[in-house]
């Protein structure tokens, strides 16, 4: 298990991705799966900055990576406002360009690319988002 904390700003996304790519490669995922995990975590972190903290540099994002049986578990913690991905409807990905809505794409990616997405909130600990991906799933 490896835990690292990053300032909750968009500049951190590149460093976070390096950490996630290295961890996923070490866990034995294929390049396509590594890219998928990178995408899910990048979108999750962007949402934390935008929606939980409501802006940059208002806290930290703590990321804990654990190799689990045949996969990887990534836990993201922040101390922002409660943010439940279930409150955000999936985007309509078939709508024409003129009326295409922008909201919800990041969460949609998370749900599609990972095998499990679990959101928890407590007043004491803030938001906890658990992302799990299994090899070959």
């Amino acid at each position: 298990m490896t835990t690292r904390s990053f300032p909750a700003n968009f500049k951190s996304l590149s460093t976070i991705s390096d950490f996630i790519v290295t961890s996923s490669e070490k866990a034995g995922f294929t390049p396509d799966d590594v890219y998928a995990i990178q995408t899910a975590v990048d979108e999750a972190c962007s949402n934390i900055i935008d929606h939980a903290y409501g802006g940059e540099n208002l806290g930290e994002i703590q990321i804990q990576v654990t190799q689990v049986k045949n996969g990887i578990q990534i836990i993201l913690r922040d101390e922002g406002d409660p943010f439940d991905p279930d409150d955000v409807p999936d985007p309509d990905i078939t709508s024409p360009l003129e009326i295409r809505k922008e909201r919800g794409l990041g969460i949609f990616f998370m749900r599609k690319l990972m095998d499990r997405v679990i959101f928890e909130f407590s007043n004491k600990k803030g938001n906890t988002l658990t992302l799990i991906k299994y090899k070959g799933a």
Partner: protein, 111 residues
């Protein structure tokens, strides 16, 4: 992330390299908006050296495409899209909104 813009006779080519995410996409958005404001609405986005494209990057491209198509015959096409980036575009349903070409020469030649 870096980009280079080359003006051709019939279109502009923007060659992007590195990560296109929430941190870097505003810089691309700014450059595309400046191009479009100058009446340059025929644009090739070459993604050969792009290592990662997030939803914010995709939305930057989509918004530029919308602006190009408003009141003009402009369009934005993509070239050298890696299989992983194509998969992300496909997941978002954006792959049908852009013309996508295998290489820059073909993409530029479409204008």
């Amino acid at each position: 992330m870096e980009f280079v813009i080359t003006e051709y006779k019939h279109c502009d080519l923007m060659e992007i390299s590195g990560r296109v995410d929430s941190y870097t996409s505003p810089k691309i958005k700014e450059a595309l908006e400046a191009l479009i404001a100058d009446g340059h609405c025929k644009i090739v986005l070459d993604l050969q050296a792009v290592t990662y494209l997030s939803s914010s990057g995709m939305l930057t491209f989509i918004n530029a495409l919308k602006h190009c198509q408003q009141g003009s015959q402009g369009k934005i096409v993509l070239s050298n899209v890696s299989p992983q980036i194509f998969t992300s575009l496909e997941l978002a349903g954006f792959h049908t909104l852009f013309e996508i070409y295998d290489d820059v020469v073909t993409a530029v030649g479409k204008f």
